[in-house]
Symmetry: C2
Subunit: 136 residues, 2 copies
DNA sequence: GTTCTTGCAAAATATTTGCAAGACG
DNA sequence: CGTCTTGCAAATATTTTGCAAGAAC
């Protein structure tokens, strides 16, 4: 996978430490991360406004994507254009509240009602992850 | 389908005009509605706090369910326990921004990774609805 | 009459915008 | 140096909480 700096260059975005850091943290994580989780793992201390704007820019450029579980739980993960993976489902664990991209769960082919066209789909699966289901 | 008043009684909830009105408006709609859309269609004028609490109560009692598209677009629709229908996908139209429950799109059976257990799934399909795709 | 719900005020939280200073290329 | 990005302040929006008055049963 490409390096953060390189990715920014490919999209003609300025290589700022905030953007670079966000991408680096998300790349090194095994689960999707929330704004505060990303902040904790960054060295620099950035203004919240800057965070919002950086996320917005990265999402618009399809470098990361936003996952919203129910309401108010917003997490970010690398976008397919960076990982070279296909559209995938997201798994939310009711216990540890972590969100993971399920790369191996293929998105089902659906038959929509007549006249409807599909551009995108989002599948969120809720349950217990492997770690949390062992504990019970 | 049962009447709003009756539904409230079945869940041991007091029959207040706010709750009754919310259920009635949602029942008579063909698409999922947002808080403000529901407010517009109600006679009485209720405090926003009351609205939030009413939605919370109705969702907890599985009378309605909440659908969140991307972030910040929250809509409500009748729950399966009231409609007697199965789990279904939701369709969001990028053009008219309406959300519809696709009762005929069966939720796919998925094979999760080992150790993962499923309790719930939410499938949101985005695209153009039949009305909006005709116009283009 | 007891319990639950409402409305109001206020707090907590989340998000957006304008603008001047600063960094990138 | 021109353009884009940041940080700060402030505006806007969203959601939650406490409490007293009111409605439901």
């Amino acid at each position: 996978m490409r390096q953060p700096i390189e990715i920014l260059g490919l999209h003609n975005l300025k290589r700022t430490s905030c953007r670079e850091g966000i991408i680096r943290v998300i790349m090194s994580a095994s689960t999707a991360l929330s704004e505060s989780e990303i902040r904790e793992r960054l060295e620099g201390n950035y203004d919240r406004t800057t965070f919002y704007r950086s996320f917005k820019t990265l999402v618009e450029n399809k470098i990361i994507h936003k996952i919203v579980v129910d309401n108010q739980l917003v997490k970010y993960a690398l976008d397919n254009s960076v990982t070279h993976k296909h559209e995938h489902a997201h798994f939310y664990c009711n216990e540890c509240e972590r969100v993971q991209c399920l790369d191996d769960v293929v998105m089902p082919a659906l038959k929509l009602p007549t006249g409807y066209t599909l551009t995108e789909m989002e599948l969120i699966i809720k349950g217990l992850c492997n770690q949390c289901s062992c504990k019970n």
